[in-house]
Symmetry: C2
């Protein structure tokens, strides 16, 4: 049996499931399930779907992923960014939440994600994820978190907000209708929000101080969201909150997802395709990022193309179960890892427990108040608002900070997908801008050495007939004209110059535009009585230049092994020479 096929049927990690590893996986699987059950229901509602579909998204998808994925700890299931993208895409296309067409649309998005990810896997496009800049991604997830929080405001206050308005419109609508505020809703949501926030940080520290130990204290605090949700449900039943105007989840059908091939109908797939592309790619990027971080810590490897395959299969599971697109969740995967997950057995245990919940325990959640779920979502997405990265990016590099800010503002103020697109364009423009004005230094020899340094920074020897220019960038279309201009202006200012040497230590590549510019520069300099030379050209670059005929076109111009050789051959009448060595011309220059 070929190894690739065998690994599909009998994954590598199965051999490792014994002893301590088995116990660790069991514990991690339970902890993750405890987190996933309320979150799954909340995420389904965020996507405008019945809560039970959130549970379904936590059953087949992680099972399918466990069989194929290369990450040991990635927790696959419903995620917040995909959920809000589903809601935004379907809302933009005029679907109405609650309609059967809305659910069908979500399933179509899952099916399209499956097709997109499997196609990318077949084309081995795993490396594509690398083309997204971190600040743009951080701006996108921060903006998505703000959009998610705003989408939960009606649930938390009772005030209806226009679904299709941008943020300023929603804030105005909020301010204009204080009379719609319903006190029982606000109190329920507010109380749950407060409990969840306390359970995150302060409670962990209290538990740890009470002698539970760091590890156990953290694990105990992981279980708090479920306990708080169960408590809220109990209180709501006792106080009959539903009759006081607090909306509750209501009846959740008991049972497992009924597998169906209906998802293959793919109604409206053309309209949904752009949204499905964004959902798949962002979901894939999120999954691979966290998988990579976790794999690093144990010196394991992630195969990006294998991840495409496994996530495609997970989305097949989602579509097959009639639910929304899934991905590897960042926060849940970290919890899974820190709870001790060693292999995908943990994922299988999580899936089994979620299935058990869907089968038997959904009646427990009948009086679960919707404001409590809204509070759960808000607490879950708060860490996505990444002010730290913005501050650090802005301080480190204005262009990166700007790209992040514009992505964030675009997502929040205009449209979640257009904002991402704007950020991506901006990051490419910033790249072109940055490399289009490379640092070009006129250098001279540090007296008594063979080191060459910028004439503006150090006292160095120079030669009036010789111009030494060091170019600190690869030469390509966006900077070749700039470099031509710099060389032209510098030569025009120095009528005595007869030789120009371009020092190429930092030139990793020369594209065809730059090659043509070099040809033109050679010829133009020759017409002006100046010879162009190159020095310290890297091997692969030199090979290409040779094949292209540029070296022949240089005429009297030479390619020197290093700057020193160029100076020994071409320099005359050194100026500024405090402690001179003789300027004997050497014949050791190389012209390949």
């Amino acid at each position: 049996m070929p190894p690739r096929l065998r690994s599909l049927i009998y994954p590598d990690w199965i051999r490792e499931c014994r002893g301590a590893s088995l116990r660790d996986d069991l514990l991690a699987g339970v902890i993750t399930a405890v987190l996933l059950v309320p979150q799954g229901m909340a995420l389904a509602m965020l996507a405008g779907l019945p809560p039970v579909l959130g549970l379904y998204a936590g059953i087949l998808p992680p099972l399918f992923y466990a069989l194929l994925g290369s990450s040991r700890a990635l927790a696959v299931g419903p995620v917040s960014v995909a959920a809000v993208l589903v809601a935004s895409a379907l809302g933009n296309l005029g679907y109405v939440p609650g309609d059967p067409a809305w659910i069908q649309g979500a399933v179509t998005l899952a099916t399209l994600s499956m097709i997109i990810l499997l196609t990318m896997a077949a084309l081995q496009l795993g490396a594509l994820v690398n083309y997204l800049s971190h600040p743009v991604l951080a701006g996108f997830t921060s903006g998505a978190a703000v959009v998610i929080i705003m989408s939960q405001v009606p649930q938390l206050t009772g005030i209806e907000l226009p679904r299709d308005a941008a943020l300023p419109g929603q804030v105005l609508a909020l301010a204009a209708n204080p009379d719609q505020l319903r006190l029982p809703v606000v109190v329920t949501g507010g109380a749950v929000l407060l409990c969840l926030l306390l359970a995150r940080g302060p409670l962990t520290r209290v538990l740890q101080r009470l002698g539970l130990g760091e590890e156990r204290g953290r694990l105990a605090s992981r279980c708090m969201p479920l306990l708080i949700i169960l408590a809220a449900t109990g209180v709501a039943a006792l106080l009959a909150l539903e009759s006081r105007g607090v909306p509750v989840v209501g009846e959740i059908p008991t049972g497992l997802p009924r597998p169906s091939l209906e998802f293959l109908v793919l109604k409206d797939w053309r309209d949904l395709l752009p949204a499905a592309l964004v959902i798949s790619i962002i979901g894939y990027v999120e999954s691979v990022s966290v998988a990579r971080v976790l794999a690093w810590r144990r010196r394991q490897r992630i195969d990006p193309n294998r991840e495409l395959l496994a996530l495609g299969a997970a989305n097949a599971g989602a579509a097959f179960s009639g639910t929304l697109p899934v991905a590897g969740g960042f926060a849940r995967s970290v919890v899974n890892f820190e709870a001790g997950a060693r292999t995908q057995l943990a994922g299988i245990i999580t899936a089994s427990l979620v299935a058990l919940t869907a089968l038997l325990l959904t009646p427990l959640f009948h009086t679960l108040p919707l404001p409590a779920l809204a509070a759960l979502i808000i607490v879950a997405v708060l860490p996505l608002i990444d002010i730290h990265t913005f501050r650090s990016a802005w301080r480190y590099d204005r262009a990166d900070g700007l790209a992040m800010a514009i992505t964030f503002l675009g997502v929040v103020l205009v449209d979640i997908e257009l904002g991402l697109l704007a950020g991506l364009c901006l990051s490419v423009i910033a790249l072109l801008w940055r490399t289009s004005h490379p640092h070009v230094a006129i250098v001279g020899r540090v007296p008594g050495t063979s080191y060459y340094r910028n004439v503006e920074r150090q006292e160095v020897d120079t030669w009036p007939n010789l111009l030494l220019l060091r170019i600190d960038e690869s030469l390509y279309f966006a900077n070749s004209a700039y470099i031509e201009q710099v060389v032209g202006n510098t030569v025009a200012e120095r009528p005595a110059v007869r030789h120009v040497v371009l020092i190429c230590t930092a030139v990793n590549h020369i594209d065809h535009s730059a090659l043509e510019t070099l040809h033109g520069m050679t010829e133009n300099l020759r017409e002006a009585g100046v010879t162009l030379h190159l020095a310290a050209v890297k091997g692969p670059v030199l090979d290409r230049l040779q094949a292209s005929g540029l070296l022949d076109a240089l005429g009297d111009g030479q390619v020197f092994f290093n700057t020193e050789q160029a100076v020994l051959t071409l320099g005359q009448d050194r100026t500024k020479a405090p402690d001179a060595t003789t300027d004997t011309a050497s014949g050791e220059n190389r012209k390949p």
Copy 2:
């Protein structure tokens, strides 16, 4: 008076107009006018406009350019690429050639070009032109030349072609209607075409051999197009070709352009804006390219922002005269330069002669056959088909060759503007692709030296606890994940490694995405018991890293001045050591 203002009223070059320079300018101005008169009429017809508008485009625009431009030899006026773009844009929007609305559309395009170029001048965007890759530009002009030639086929054959069809449709229409072929039209066009082709190369050589001298022979051949056109006009009058079905230019109104402010109406400007953007930018790129080449040869300078201003003014002149957008023509500028133009006085002389022609001589062209003008255009655009660049780009770099081919095919087969857009996107993707898989070499020390070379290329000393990685590219979002993966995989394969040193000699920039990756890598390596170090980091990069806090985050990791210092400090138990030196640890490492 501030110098900027004075130079607007009293250009620098006026001082130089005396003696030999004055004579040279006079001759060049005459030669260029002789070329411009028939070409201008032909280009106007290419744009679907009355021939006299081509003459008008050669009067005010070069005068305005002469007062403001920084190039001494650029010949501004109607150009073929702008003319075909005008025809394509107006045709796409449903205008009909011959309608007054068509002319109005062309004038609106000139006005929009003026606004775009002046806005770019105000924003100092002159350097934007550098972001166009040469192969994409060459693909675009080659494709435009093919589109222009196909557009002249009906004039040369009498066969009507569908205006809105792409090339294959036009070729099919040509093949399907051989019965429409009109012999007198074909003979006229063919004869003129042959004469023009002969006059280009062979005649020059004959004249030179007859003792005219190289210089005079070339100048004489420059006058041939006008003579051939005049001869064709005379023959057409003698043989009454018009009555035999050969269309002629007909009556051309005598007189100068009547300046009018009607162009400010700007009807349909929203629809025409994309085309105007392409016309302005391509026209600007063409102008600056040729201006730069010519300035180089005399060690003069071109100020890109000044060129934007001057070309904006030239288009104001075009709009004011009620004609099509203008630019600096490549071929005509070279003729002007080679004929001896020293200053813009040559341009003013050309403009005056064209004005004189429009005022007095247009009746001469009454019986000028349209097939002759079509032949003139074809001969003028033939050199734009740049097979040489394609061959050289393809040989030098597949990605550049592909970008050029796709731009060419897009322009010819799909749409002239979409083709350009596709090429531009492709050149950016190729850039990302190229820099996203940088060369990362594991290096070791060449025995007995302090040189470090790739372990796969040379027999070198290595140290089992020490991994030396040289990265041959700036670190940024498109390659940071790749590098992280390479480092991760390399470390995973070498369990003995305790120190990783990244050698940064070729790293010119580290963006924020890469900074975060370095932070993550440091932490992940530490969890795996490995320390990350840097070596040979460039000054500006190091300053930024220090400010960002990365150097503190390295923990035990250090920044070494060069690779040798890293090895002296960290290396233990060297392997492969034919002629060893001792491995004493040195304390000279630098941690700024």
